[in-house]
């Protein structure tokens, strides 16, 4: 009798659609639903779930796969790309997808009046971008100058409808925006015209809808997940992960190291308001290497991240399988090795303090953003690690705007601990960090000419890899960049935090990946509750 009632209840649930909605949180309201204007994380989540792209980066295999394009070919040294388009595809409003839609999207993307942040990656030089149909189902796009990693850049270009101009709700992705209540939720409904089918011929996506709740408070998000009101928490910090793991061991997911970094750098800006002797310390390669060597990364991993991180050797995470220079190893944290480097750099220990050649006691401050407990703990560990050498480190937590003001405008700081999130897989995405002339060349931005020979070499290598279409040559060049960065330590890489998430056991087909969006990257194949309705 009881079994019969349970079966009836399950059927009622499936009929009412309870089981086919996936629910998770966005931290903020999406700033736009126009896919070419996406800048913020929330809008990016909506674009990922609703936008159809020509080429998709498989977050799990890290390989490019055809999506709306069945084939593509890059030529003219990265200036031109030709796409063969998939046939029989329709937009969510039922209109057919044609080459004109790709041409229209490219014109919109490169239109200076639109100021598309997504288009910035394609703006390789002065001149117009040409896009034209070559037959019914092929398109040619030619840029004025070579674009690095050209095919991969199309992962972020959601194709717009030329027939329904200006309608952001007309999409080619698995879901369409159904309802939006600012400050409350975004409801994505299943796109009935989505072109993909599974191996058994069933129409995808399996889910009827995705409800994206706007929720800034992480504790509330976790509480709602524990109550069963949410199905996914896409990013967890290690403390939350362990807490949830104790209560719901089957719900937590550690997808391994992410691409993110936690890193320290010293102020090397020539006109920074620093005493001259401190500027000399911070510009001394061996001083920076000694600091790097003296920080015990394994303790940061074990104590701060509770084991959910990997000690970093350089700017490429172990999660980035192709571009990682596997010859590099993280510094050991050896006191003897670090002290030897300090001595080579002209520093000596006297009593409880370290002094430079001129007798200045080594004391400096390290700033970080306030309210970040992981950073506070990391700094407390670094403080004691450096105290072993007689260095007095003053820890200062600042609100984020003050911190940004200091590191990018006034340059009134000595050292900083920062998180760098979401760097691209491809090194071309790091051009703005490694080129000496770049604004995000954090330790000494906007150099007119490279300040050191090794920065000049990095410039040369980065430009060379940017221009080349030979993947092996690009890899060799970027390996050398990683080696130089490890040797000169302009940025001291500490750890790559793991991608931690929580997934309700009722969500099926989850294949966690280190790349964002870690849990729902294959949203069209996710199921909730296991009640699958046949759709052909």
């Amino acid at each position: 009798m009881l079994m019969r009632w349970m079966a009836v209840l399950a059927l009622c649930g499936a009929a009412a659609g309870w089981a086919s909605e996936l629910r998770f949180c966005l931290r903020t309201d999406p700033k736009t639903f126009q896919p070419l204007l996406v800048e913020d994380e929330s809008a990016e989540a909506v674009r990922y779930l609703t936008g159809g792209v020509l080429i998709r980066l498989n977050r799990y295999t890290q390989e490019l796969e055809g999506d709306l394009a069945t084939h593509w070919k890059v030529s003219e040294n990265g200036r031109r790309i030709d796409f063969a388009l998939r046939k029989g595809v329709r937009f969510s409003d039922g209109t057919p997808f044609t080459c004109q839609d790709v041409v229209y999207t490219m014109h919109q993307l490169m239109d200076p009046a639109l100021h598309s942040p997504v288009g910035d990656a394609f703006r390789s030089g002065p001149g117009a971008t040409e896009a034209k149909c070559e037959g019914d189902s092929s398109v040619m796009v030619r840029f004025p100058a070579p674009v690095a990693a050209l095919a991969a850049q199309f992962d972020e270009v959601a194709i717009l409808s030329a027939q329904s101009k200006g309608k952001d709700s007309v999409v080619l992705g698995p879901f369409e925006v159904g309802e939006y209540k600012p400050g409350e939720y975004v409801l994505l409904r299943r796109n009935p015209n989505y072109w993909k089918h599974d191996g058994n011929g069933r129409a995808l996506p399996y889910l009827d809808s995705i409800r994206l709740e706007i929720q800034q408070n992480r504790e509330l998000e976790l509480l709602r997940f524990r109550r069963g009101e949410l199905d996914i928490v896409n990013k967890l910090d290690p403390e939350m992960y362990d807490r949830l793991s104790a209560e719901m061991p089957h719900a937590v997911v550690d997808a391994g190291p992410s691409l993110d970094w936690e890193a320290v750098f010293f102020n090397q800006v020539a006109n920074a308001p620093l005493p001259e002797y401190k500027r000399r310390w911070f510009r001394n390669d061996e001083f920076r290497r000694a600091i790097s060597e003296g920080i015990r990364r394994d303790d940061i991993v074990r104590i701060v991240y509770r084991g959910h991180a990997h000690a970093a050797a350089g700017p490429v995470s172990v999660a980035n399988r192709f571009w990682l220079n596997s010859a590099l190893k993280p510094p050991s944290g050896s006191q003897a090795a670090a002290m030897a480097l300090f001595e080579r750099a002209g520093f000596h220990r006297s009593g409880n303090s370290l002094y430079d050649r001129e007798g200045h006691k080594v004391e400096f401050s390290m700033i970080t953003n306030t309210g970040n407990q992981l950073h506070e703990r990391m700094l407390a560990l670094i403080q004691q690690d450096l105290a072993r050498f007689g260095i007095q480190l003053n820890v200062v937590a600042l609100d984020f705007p003050s911190l940004v003001e200091r590191i990018s405008r006034t340059f009134n700081y000595e050292a900083v601990l920062m998180a760098f999130t979401g760097p691209d897989l491809d090194p071309s995405g790091q051009m703005n960090i490694w080129l000496s002339s770049a604004a995000n060349h954090q330790w000494n931005p906007n150099e007119k000419t490279p300040a050191t020979p090794w920065e000049a070499e990095i410039d040369k290598l980065m430009m060379a890899q940017e221009r080349s279409q030979d993947r092996a040559k690009r890899k060799a060049d970027f390996d050398r960049v990683q080696q130089i960065v490890a040797d000169k330590a302009p940025i001291i890489f500490l750890v790559n935090p793991n991608a931690l998430a929580a997934v309700s056991p009722s969500v099926k087909n989850v294949t966690p990946a280190a790349l964002s969006p870690q849990i729902y990257w294959n949203a069209d194949r996710l199921q909730v509750g296991g009640n699958l309705v046949s759709r052909r």
Binding site: A246, G371, E376, L379, N394, L398
Partner: protein
């Protein structure tokens, strides 16, 4: 002094002695990290266990008590003195001066002081030592915390100024100075003391909150505020109840102070009579 008040005084004396004699009670420094014993339960070596960086909780509690018991009363004294001067003067003078001060207090209370505190932190030299940083924090709290007590003191003063015994004294030809020093001030003492004692736990908790803005005590110096922040992790508190020690100590100190305050109020009451 009642028996409970004697007990309260004894408890406060023990706490103060323990804070001053921290070096004898625990061999560990508040900054020393025993990284092999992170989040350890109480043991022979660590009587209150260790925190999540392997630091002795007892050592941090005792040294934090020093910081908080010295600086929070100092800040409370500063804010009470300012409040007494401004609120007392407004209530005593009355009329236009009183209205101006009341408006000023309301304006002061409505200002977003958070931004001033952020600006102050941003303006401080980066190589400010932890001791200097915590001193500045409590000094700021003292300077900014006068408005609410000033309102109460103003109201108390106005009530007293219009009370029968002061009207009689005025009518009897008592000079303004004598009226103020001999009759008004002693009767305001209980209000001053109440505001002073109430401000202490308030400032301790404010310091804890300011820590989130980077204005509180900086690493590795402990304070009650910084230690109380550990209680945000409620599931860890349930599993490790000894983490509640700073909260217990704070409640004990505030409770004892309230008991002693009763004595002072009684003394004040006697003065009125």
């Amino acid at each position: 002094m009642s028996f409970q008040q004697k007990i309260a005084l004894a408890v406060l004396a023990v706490i103060a002695a323990a804070a001053l004699g921290a070096g004898w009670i625990t061999p560990h420094s508040y900054a020393e990290q025993s990284r092999e014993f992170i989040s350890a339960p109480p043991s022979k070596d660590f009587w209150l266990g260790t925190d999540d960086l392997g630091r002795d909780r007892l050592a941090r509690l005792l040294y934090g008590t020093r910081v908080s018991l010295l600086l929070a009363p100092a800040a409370a004294l500063l804010s009470t003195v300012i409040a007494a001067l401004i609120g007392g003067a407004a209530g005593y003078l009355g009329g236009r001066a009183e209205r101006m001060v009341t408006t000023g207090i309301d304006l002061f209370l409505s200002l977003p002081w958070l931004f001033l505190l952020l600006a102050v932190r941003a303006l401080l030299p980066l190589n400010t030592s932890p001791v200097m940083s915590v001193t500045i924090t409590f000094l700021l709290l003292g300077c900014l915390g006068w408005a609410a007590p000033a309102r109460i003191i103003r109201a108390g003063t106005m009530t007293l100024v219009n009370s029968d015994f002061l009207v009689q004294a005025r009518a009897g030809g008592v000079s303004r100075g004598r009226l103020f020093w001999r009759h008004l001030l002693p009767n305001l003492r209980p209000i001053f003391l109440a505001q002073f004692w109430i401000s202490i736990p308030l400032f301790i908790l404010s310091e804890a909150n300011l820590g989130l803005l980077g204005l509180g005590v900086s690493e590795p110096l402990p304070s009650w505020g910084a230690l109380l922040r550990d209680l945000e992790n409620y599931s860890a508190v349930l599993q490790n109840p000894w983490m509640l020690a700073p909260a217990v100590l704070l409640v004990a100190v505030v409770g004892c102070v309230q008991l002693l305050l009763g004595t002072e109020q009684s003394a004040g009451d006697r003065a009125v009579c």
